[in-house]
Amino acid sequence: MSVGIAEAKRERSERRRGFLLALPSFAYMVLFFAVPLIIVLVYSFATRTSTGSTALSDWNLDAYRKLGEPIVRNVVVRSVILALVTTVICLVVAYPFAWFCAHQRPTIRNLLLIAVMIPFWTNFLVRNYAWRILLSNGGPISSFTEAIGLGETNILFTKTAVVIGLVYAYLPFMILPLYASIDRLDRRLIEAGRDLYGSGSQTFRRIVLPLTMPGVIAGSILVFVPSMGAYVTPELLGGGKETLLGSYIVTQFLTARNWPVGASLSFVLMAVMLVSTIVYFRSGGKNL
């Protein structure tokens, strides 16, 4: 009995120590995430004045009503499609690479993983400008395709350029969780599958894929969410010719000066993402 009490006490004090250690990051989250989020929420119920300022009075739901209009719906649909395309391409490209990577000797494996991370050493904006040069008319890629007889390729300022830019930007976020999952996969299970006369594709579908599903899900979310709100890449590589969520929200703040609408859209977007992510994890990733 007394042993149990002592243990419970120790557990409690450990928990308290854990709490204290977590306090800085907790405070950080409250200060730089929760508080701004509440401000965004408050602004979403405010009113745009005729000079474009935000009157923190006359609280109303106009900004949310606006989200039901066709213009916002179309923007959302376009952004979802773009994010889906990006996610699927990332998945298809990243899976074999992560597989290959996980089956190398440790030295090579580490080198490959470092190669995946290297782009992060350069600023995102700078990398987008670099793509702009690569894809431009008469740029390196165009010159190359011309040299090998495929003719000029004018990719810059097209949807293709946007997808290329997004896949490039978010591919590491797909590779890393996939690699972690595949690395943990017990190879003997694959052998067992083959022993039981499972074909390659059957083994993949019924053993490998379900076991690496946590990586697939985590990677997909990490790619899908930022692609949904992408702003820099569509503007720089797509020439801003399509209105997507990111640019629409920026427009509300910096051009229309309609903060309530910008705030409501940001908030709804965040809430939808958060809820669907939780649901996704709960349903698909029990063993995460």
Binding site: G240, V250, A256
Partner: protein, 380 residues
């Protein structure tokens, strides 16, 4: 100068603004915030008289980037024994909330025309003490008093310019028609398909379409706006990009042949080109935008006397000329003319001969959201 380089930091900036606008205490990332809190005493001294050439501390300037000759700043520092600390913004909309929230710490800001009227209406600017700015008399009557500050009580024009088209003459030919039809007429512009950029700015680009249709670019008629929207929507298929940052570089590097943009930026780009004579800029015959940027004091400027002295300094004939010779925008300073380089003064890009069809963009109030939505819809 509605929008300048690196507007793309917009997402991050937006977050910062949200924070900044909510508590007066959060301008801590501005250099100006390092200044000890002298605001309490001096902001009440707003009404206190400043004498000509009086200074009451260092000057905190909040300006567009690359808009003031560094030599002018040095000259001011040496002449008055104060430091000039400059921060930059890239759009009026990014600057305004920071100043309006109070405690921005800035002494002089440089808002554009329509933003001046907004800030006056919102009480964000303090009235100038004209006695402390004798050089106000140097301003061209066209710009003083200006329509957006009808009594001339709040602002002194800094520079002015136009919005029009930069073109590649080797493609369009020397006798190209000077019309917005180069962009909006399906037949005429078909020749340049995929080689046109338009400003990524609802008021400017929808405004250009409105001008092409013969309407005012400050229309508040839904029907006229819809017509303009249809024109822009039709043009989307023929344009390379909506771009407010790099249009001049894209033009002179041969990526595009027609670029919608601001006079000074375009001239700067053309000057940098290998063969500057291959390019020109004009405001189409149907008319276009004229705009000004203007020096003003935030309502709580900590060093109002230094601010007045600085405005007076810029409005000096020779200093005004130095400004124009450096940034290649038009000077509103009539007395500066003899000191402006002849090649700048005679350049029709800087000083268009016919200004009759130029129009200021004005705040259309609640209709602004119609402009921005029309632009978003036109893009699809």
């Amino acid at each position: 100068m509605k929008s300048m380089k690196f507007r793309l930091a917009g997402v991050a900036v937006t977050g910062a603004i949200l924070l900044a606008s909510c508590g007066g205490d959060s301008s801590s990332d501005d250099a100006a915030a390092d200044e000890p809190a002298a605001e309490e005493s001096t902001s009440e001294a707003t009404g206190a008289d400043c004498a000509v050439d009086q200074v009451d501390g260092d000057l905190y300037l909040y300006n567009w980037s690359e808009y003031i000759d560094p030599d002018l700043k040095t000259a001011f520092e040496e002449q008055y024994g104060v430091a000039v600390i400059e921060d930059n913004y890239d759009s009026n909309e990014a600057m305004q909330p920071i100043v309006a929230a109070g405690n921005s710490g800035y002494d002089v800001i440089v808002p554009s025309d329509y933003m001046v009227s907004i800030m006056i209406e919102e009480g964000s600017l303090q009235a100038l003490q004209l006695d402390a700015i004798p050089n106000m008399a140097n301003l061209d009557p066209v710009f003083y008093p200006a329509p957006y500050d009808p009594t001339g009580a709040y602002t002194a024009a800094y520079q002015w310019g136009t919005t029009g088209l930069g073109v590649d003459l080797t493609v369009l030919g020397e006798d190209t028609p000077r019309t917005w039809g180069l962009v909006f007429d399906p037949e005429l512009s078909a020749n340049f398909g995929g080689n046109i950029t338009l400003l990524n700015d609802p008021r400017e680009t929808i405004g250009a379409a409105l001008k092409y249709l013969g309407y005012s670019l400050n229309t508040t008629s839904i029907e006229e706006l819809d017509e303009a929207k249809a024109l822009v929507a039709d043009a989307v298929a023929r344009i390379a990009a909506f771009d407010s940052d790099q249009y001049d570089e894209l033009l002179v590097s041969g990526q595009t042949q027609i670029a919608h943009g601001f006079s000074g930026n375009m001239l700067y780009g053309i000057d940098e080109a290998e063969n500057p004579d291959d390019y020109t800029y004009f405001v189409p015959d149907e008319g276009g935008t004229i705009w000004t940027d203007n020096m003003a004091l935030p309502f709580d400027a900590p060093h109002p006397c230094t601010a007045h002295t600085f405005i007076n300094f810029i409005l000096d004939a020779e200093n005004g000329a130095a400004l124009t010779n450096w940034n290649l925008y038009g000077s509103p300073n009539a007395a500066s003319e003899p000191f402006i380089d002849a090649e700048v003064l005679e350049n029709e890009i800087v000083y268009p001969a016919d200004r009759s069809k130029l129009e200021f963009i004005t705040n259309t109030g609640d209709f602004e959201t119609n402009f921005s939505d029309a632009f978003s819809e036109a893009k699809g």
